[in-house]
Structure formats: structure tokens, C-alpha cells
Symmetry: C2
Subunit: 492 residues, 2 copies
Amino acid sequence: MSYTDATIDQVDHALKEAQRAFLTYKNFSGKKKAAFLRAIADEIEALGQELVTVAMRETNLPEARITGERGRTTGHCRMFADLVEEGSWVDARIDTAQPERTPLPRPDLRKLSVAVGPVVVFGAANFPLAYSTAGGDTASALAAGCPVIVKAHPAHAGTSELVAGAIQKAIAKTGMPQSVFQHLHGAGFEVGKALVQHPFTKSVGFTGSLAGGKALFDLANQRPEPIPVFAEMSSINPVVLLPDTLLKDAEATAVKLAGSITLGVGQFCTNPGLIIAIANEGLERFIKTLSTEIQKVIPAAMLHQGIADNYARKSAQALEQKGVTVEGQASVASTSSQGKALVASVQANEFLKNPALAEEVFGPFSLIVRCKNLDELHAVITHLHGQLTASLIGEESELIQHTALLNSIIEKAGRLIINGVPTGVEVNPSMQHGGPYPSTTDSRFTSVGTDAIKRFVRPVAFQNFPDSLLPDELKQSNPLSIWRLVNSEWKK
Amino acid sequence: MSYTDATIDQVDHALKEAQRAFLTYKNFSGKKKAAFLRAIADEIEALGQELVTVAMRETNLPEARITGERGRTTGHCRMFADLVEEGSWVDARIDTAQPERTPLPRPDLRKLSVAVGPVVVFGAANFPLAYSTAGGDTASALAAGCPVIVKAHPAHAGTSELVAGAIQKAIAKTGMPQSVFQHLHGAGFEVGKALVQHPFTKSVGFTGSLAGGKALFDLANQRPEPIPVFAEMSSINPVVLLPDTLLKDAEATAVKLAGSITLGVGQFCTNPGLIIAIANEGLERFIKTLSTEIQKVIPAAMLHQGIADNYARKSAQALEQKGVTVEGQASVASTSSQGKALVASVQANEFLKNPALAEEVFGPFSLIVRCKNLDELHAVITHLHGQLTASLIGEESELIQHTALLNSIIEKAGRLIINGVPTGVEVNPSMQHGGPYPSTTDSRFTSVGTDAIKRFVRPVAFQNFPDSLLPDELKQSNPLSIWRLVNSEWKK
């Protein structure tokens, strides 16, 4: 089934409608927005097997993955519902008046976070549910009080239509302004460009390639009024294997990493694409086991042909680089639509000379960097770009000897993992899914977890307001019973 | 006295030193950073009258203003000292492990804010102390754990040298890495450009013109690794006079506004440059009194000749626009280095047609926009760019009738004031000094008050870390006794 691209007029109309909806919707109580978000979750569930069938057909993802992702999607809608219903997320601050202060009286000043305005969300190829139409960007923006316009990802436009229909039902059932959510198609760049450039657009969420994210980021910054773009783009998620632990646990570590590298045909932004270790006997055993594990992996279809082609090209390019050796690959032949698992290795000195080797290969690929010693390992870490995650495999006793390494690696990533794999992203208040550039365009924010709502708000201070005109969150009596910083003390 | 511009090599050296200092300084405890910030305040005070004399000579500001600003500067150093010593500002979140969770166990995940890296601060012409060398940008960056490189404002380079010397003494006295603060001169654009483009620079603070701020913003976004620029640039701080209240309080309101327009020769970013009202008999009385008050203002020297020239040119340009009438000006003649107070008026329909009239005239100037009715007043507000502040003068009973107006005006500003003037910026947790573009480049942050520290941090999550390797803020026993969100509950 094919869908017609939106026209530039339709984009303009959508943003005007979104702005109109914004002026009402932004003032809705947390309770009302919560009811809407919960209704979205209910309506997505009510789509039943049809959603699963269409999503499987469009993305080649297996049923368990789609149902899991559906659970995550309804889960984050309900999580944001709870967050805004409780209400403390607005970060209310109150400093009461001191009329007697000299030389000047202190005015009453109160602050909270307010919605920024219409948000444009680009559906992500690799998360047809959890990072697309009712994905984390949409749910957090709606929770914040921002209308959302989703540009469907063309590779799963039918899935997107179904979810958009569910959201529209939720709008009708909970009395939301109709245009608080709108859904457009656009296979080319023009629709996306028009959406980002429209003066009523106040923020953008995107998950995809570095080229795509960077293009949107540049467009947004070149506007007469620049706006933020939250683009999650490119991360190779380095895993550092500490030498003594590796000697002990080489095989178990290899099995664990093989699973993470090939999970979902490697199509996760947190896929471990780089393994860094000091060459020792343990590393050779690690590589041997990893290679054996990778050989066993049955090639599977990737999300769409473009991604499969890209993987074939990028992995072939990686292998052509100087000093790169194949260490293991899936033994079953793959078709052109499938991603074949592959691990390779290179000496650190070659890695340090060749920026191409630090680029993401989106798919079931990982490059092992063999370092001569700790200094070289440190140099490799310092050389890396920004990452979503960085992992360290090491026993506590060994980790403690490497605090300098930890001190460097923290500069490179948004999330640090000890003795675990980077795939698997918890959705909770402690999650940081966002790291230094180019993993995301803005390391100060997360796209996963409750704090994702912070991307779509800005603080506003109210000076000398009569209580009747203040938002409920700032009224003297604290009618919503939220946590507030009152005269520098946290109170409820 | 003149100072030599830094060379590009010196800029490179400074950033390398800053990065080295960063890797140590970022790990210093809140207590240690607090001692440093308090020592800065002490050393600034120890400069005594010399600082006041030099600052007065360089800026033409009167003694009371300089000593007041010195108090504000030492005040915010001590405020940030208190903030980081207490420690809860890191926004710690903890979600403990659930090994029994199905289908997958939940890992232990903990998050806090960490310093981003070296910060470049551009001294502000209009705040030689409070927004320059040891200004709010510097103090909040140092509090966050970021080394700072200040480019002195050439108009008060001697003042800047003195304060830099005080900070260097504080570094020596409290055992900080020497390069945690560095001070460079650069009268042209080249030094600033090199500072913003250097790969070790992670953030930029700037207060000044729209052209200057936008140039830095563009440079920062065009880097291979884009970085945030917090530029405070251009704001005309609209004041809306509601009609019934105006009929009652025309004269008192005019006197209050005249004071705000001409305070410090109008050289405040929060100067009320636009007054919007529905034409009635009250407005005519208001204008008459305002005009009388403005006539009485004795012209005074502006901060430097460039600013005086700019004011003369911009205010003359404003008067040349179609439909603009002078309503009052200082009756004493002014020299070319002085700013002559001036108020003018224009009909709303002309204002709406002419974008030049919505541009900032930095100095003691304000434009009154006469609206025919509420619709026109509403149209004027919708037409405005982003502002630091917006003020409404109206009694509660009248304000309540204009919630639609409030609903629109909130979209235009970072701080809303009822029955007060926008000049006078409190330094506390509730302050929001930052608004939609072009008042600042990032409305999501404030440059004044405790939350200014948030500009220079990013969150990092720690997954499955042994307690011994966690920062103190995240250790299980909460050794610093800070507020933390533990399994979705705020606890201390």
C-alpha cells in the first residue's frame, strides 16, 4: 500500500492547526493529559493482531519483537501519564516576596516549566512502534503539553497509519483538540524540510542516520528563529575488556557480546560496534569464541532494502581498510536483503590513523581493536567520538586500578555500563539515552525515560502575580501537592 | 592602558591547559569547589577601592552602581558555593536492580549531572563585574566543574585584569589547578572565533549584541562537533498597559516606567523598550507625564563610544520610520558620548507593518504603540519576537478579564511581571533570565540564578556500577545527604 506525500500547503495547514491546538492544549491539567496518554495506550492495544501483522510485514521484525515493542510503547505512554498526573516534573520554584529587604524590596518570583509549542517527530526505521508514531518523542511531547506532527517513516507507513488512527480515537474519546496530533507522509526530503522550517514548529525529534540528523539540525539552526533538534544519530558503543578479567572470563564475555552484536540483526543504536582490549592470551580466546558464536548466527532480513544495502556497503568498506582482518562471519550465505553477522579486528595503531574505522556500521558488525598496552588503549578511548554508551568488562578489583580510564571514558558517553552489554535500554527516571555528538545532537537531554519530557519545555518565571492568575503548580496553597523548591527548601 | 591580543597559538595553549585542568577539577567535591568560589568573592572584595576606581573610569558607571554590581558578583559566587556544597543540584536519580523482573532482570541504574568541559565566556560591556570576568557565566561554570577561559571585554580590560588577578589568587589559596581559570584579551573577532572553534571548548557564554551572539552561535553550530552557545542578545521587554487601570493610574505608572527606561542610561537587557496600550484618555495622560519625566533626565555618558554611537544611530533611525512621533526627550543637550533619553509613539497599524520598529534600541529609549482596540493589542503581541521579559500593568480584577492576552504573551517571554518594571533581576532559584529567540539563543536555560549551572552540565547514567566506583552523589548510603529520586520517590 502506498501513501501520498503531503504537499507544502498541507504542511503549512498542519502547523497552523497545531499552533491553534497548542494555545488550548498547553493549559490542560496533568490529569487531563494523563487520561489522553492512557487512552492512546488503550487504543494501541485495541488494534490487536492487525498492528502486529502489518508491522511484521513492513519491518521484517519477528512477532516477539513487535509485541515487546508494543508493550514498551504503551508502557511509556502510561509512564508519562503517571508523571504528568503527579505533577512535580514541572520543577516549580518559589521565592516569596520580602517587602522589607534593603536597598530594594524582593518581589515574589515563581517559576515552572511550560510547553514550547508544536513538535515535529520523524518516525524511526528501527523502532516502528517505540520510536515512531506513538514513540518516546511523541509521548513525551504530548505529556509536556506540545501538539505533535509525525512524519511517518516510509518503510513502515502502514504501521504508522494504524497507530495514528489509535491516537485519533484517543483524542475523540478524551476531548482533546483534534489537531493535538497530526500524521503526514513524505518519502522524500521536502516534507521533512518544510516541517522543520515552519515558523510554528518549536522543536524536532529524530532518530536515524548521521547525515539525516545533521541535515535537520542545520536547517533548524539556519531558521530566522533557530529551534532545537533532538537527533539520535550515530554511535559505535565501545566495549573495553580489562586484561585480567579477560584472562578469566574470555569465553563467557564472548558469548554475551555475540548476543548483543547480533540482537535484532544488529539494528539497535546501542549495538556494540567496537571492542577494545589489550592483546593477551585471553583476548585470543575471546576472539576465537566470538568468531564461533558469530558463525552460528543465521542471517535474517534487515528492516528494509536500503538498510541492508547500506550495511553490505559499509561492512565491506570497513574490511577494505588497512590492517583490518575478518575474525568471524555467519557461515550460512545471506541474500541481499539480509544482514550477515561479521566481526573483524585491527591493531590500535591502524585504528588511530584511520577515522573511517570509528564510523558506525549499522548492523550486526563489530570491530575489535587490539592494543599493545594500557597507554594505547587510553589513546583509543581519547580518539573516539561521542557515544550513547560505553561499557567496561572487568572485576571490581581490576576496575579500581583503572580510574583514569573511567575518568576519560565518561567524557565520551551518556551511559556507562559495567559488566553488561549496551543493548537493552531501561525506560525509567535514571536512564540517559543521549550522548556527546555525533551520538546525539544534544548530550544534555535524554530521549528515553521520564526526563525525555524536559526536551519540550522551557522555564517561565512569574513575578508579582496575584495567586488567582498563577498556574495551579505555583499557587500558594500548593493545590496539586507537588514537590516545590520554596525559599530554597524542597517541600510538598 | 592597552593589552595585547592573544595569538591563535595562545588560544590553543589555553584550551589544552583548560582540558588538562578539567580532567582533575571536574572530580573535585562540592565542598572544595565551594571554598574556591568563596575565595574568589573574598579576593574581589580585597581589591578594594582600586577595582571601583578602574571600573568607573572604564565604564562611566557611577560608584553606587559599581559597588552594587560588585556585591552582586561576590553574592553569586557565594550563592553557587552554597549550591554545590549542599549538592542536590546534580539531580541524582537511582533505580535499583530488580534481578527477578521478567522477561529480563532490571539493572541498577543511577544518573547525575556532570560538567561538560572547558567553557569560554565573553565579558559583557554593560556588566563589567556581574556579567564579565567573575560574572554569572564564570561562577556557574566553575561551580559545575568546568574550567573557564574569559575573553575580556576590550572596553573594560583593566577591570577584567584586576578581577582575573583576584581569581588567580583564589586558585593559589585553595589549591585549584592553575588553568581552571584563564584570561585572554582580544579586541577583534579573531580571538573569539578561535576560542569558539577550538575542539576542547564545550560551551560558550555571551552577553551582547544580536549580531555578535548570532555570529558565535553560527560558528559553534558549524563545528565538526557543534556546541551550545548561551547568548543573551536582544530584547525590547514589552510593557502592556491595561485600559481601565491606566485610566486610574496613568501618572504613577508613567513615573515608574520613566525610571525604568532611563535607569543606568537604559543600558540593561531588561530595559522596557516598548509600551503597548489601547488609546484612551488615560494613555494621553500617561504619555504627558512620561514625557515630562523624560525631559527632566540629565544625559549621562554611555558605557563606551561605540555604544553611544550605536544608540544615536538606532534611535535616529527609529524616529525616521513612518508614523513615529517624538513624545518627549531630555531637555538638556547631550554630547556625542552621552545617551539622551527619548520616548516616541506610533500607531499599532504602522508598528505591525514595519519590522524595524520591533528591533532593540540599546539605551534610554522606548516606543509607545497606540492600539485602537483589544484585537489590535493582541495582534501587536502576537507579532513580537521572543523577549527576556514581558510586563502587564493592570489591577487583578482587570487582569482576570484578559487571560487570553496572558495566554499569548507567555509564549513571547521568559519572565512575566505584573505591575512592576522589568529592570531589576533577582538572583535566586526562581529567576528565569532567558527567553525565546532572539532574546537568547536558548530559552530552555537561564543565565541568572542557581539554575544557570544547568547550562554547563549533561546527565550521565551509571549502569551496574559497584558502589566503590560510583560518584559520592550516587552511592547507596547517600554520604552527602542530598535529595535524590530513588525508585521514583524523592528522598534525602
